[in-house]
């Protein structure tokens, strides 16, 4: 009986979600999509935004200069891509061993309405201890995303809920704040660690 009820809800939801999806597709990948801007992230030194980390400390792009940096965008209500990316990053940091301690690793939420400082603190606590969680005002998140050339969009789902489409790549910067490369979501795992090592090495080269 309970199963039947659940199925009923599912069928109604499927219809409602179909429309939402079509609208979402139209705007994101379909004919309604804005022209893809193939520009690279700005150097961290040219970015300008003010956020708060998961310990309540004020942070900005300047917080990240002087050490190599890894940044990615996501949201804690994300069931699939975000926990997977955080698990992957935790694995890469484990593979880097002690070198991981020389890096800034930051997860910036694109959903600050739900991702408060406390929420971010709880969430990052499940992953590698080097990972910091940043949140803040909507306009500051927007400025951060603009600097990284990342995009995100709130997409309504059934029952007044919503999910977020967002750039899932991981951005790498050297210690001088210059963009080095990015790790795409579907890139084989074995390419990631060498890319991170490259960002770490550019620090050494810059220092000599």
């Amino acid at each position: 009986m309970r199963r039947r009820t659940a199925l009923g809800y599912g069928a109604t939801a499927l219809g409602a979600m179909g429309l939402t999806l079509f609208v979402g597709w139209w705007r994101v990948d379909g004919p309604g999509a804005p022209e893809a801007v193939a520009s690279l992230p700005l150097p961290l030194t040219e970015m300008d935004f003010r956020l708060t980390d998961h310990e309540g400390q004020p942070v900005g792009p300047e917080t990240l200069v002087d050490r190599p940096t890894m940044v990615f965008f996501g949201f804690t209500f994300c069931p699939d891509v975000c926990p997977t990316t955080l698990s992957d990053i935790s694995g890469w940091l484990d593979a880097l061993g002690e070198d991981a301690g020389q890096m800034n690793v930051v997860f910036i939420t694109v959903d600050p309405d739900r991702d408060t400082v406390e929420t971010m603190a709880e969430y990052v606590g499940y992953f590698h201890p080097a990972i910091r969680g940043w949140t803040g005002a909507q306009d500051q998140i927007a400025r951060a995303a603009e600097g990284f050339r990342a995009s995100y969009e709130r997409v309504p789902t059934d029952g007044g809920d919503y999910t977020m489409n967002h750039t899932a790549s991981v951005f790498l910067f050297d210690a001088a704040g210059r963009f080095v490369s990015m790790i795409d979501y579907h890139e084989p795992r074995e390419f990631a660690v060498p890319k991170i090592r490259r960002a770490l090495e550019e620090e050494t080269e810059g220092a000599t």
């Binding site: 599912g10 499927l14 990948d29 069931p79």
Partner: protein, 154 residues
Amino acid sequence: MTKLTITMLATLTTLALTTGVALAGSEDVVVDDAWARASIGMNRPGAAYMTIRNIGDEAVTLTGISTPLAMMPEIHETTTSAAGVSSMAPAGEITIAPGEAAELAPGGLHAMLMQLQEQMIEGQSFPLTLNFSDGGNVTVEVPILGFAARGPEG
């Protein structure tokens, strides 16, 4: 003794009613490596993964899923655009050709568990029923792994 037999018969009958009505197709469905991540509280949707294999000689079509764990379970697909933007959408019906498998894995297809009725706790498990177009169902017990799990091995 008699009582036990009756109970067993009743259980078998129930099983026959829920799974046995399947026509040829869904009887030949085998589910491997099911797993899910633990949830933080009950407000966020959960996700479950598995490999659904069709070992028969007719195509089978997965039309939906159900579970007492979530009010709105649905098969979703995550796609990542050329520009690196990830989005998630209901996958619709999934047809599995004979000898083929549908892979539900992170970053692709997943069983999206919306409106959780209970928190998903590591070490526990929950039943998930796959509904097929021939009217048959396959129920699989999904173990709940850690929140940071990456695959069926943890």
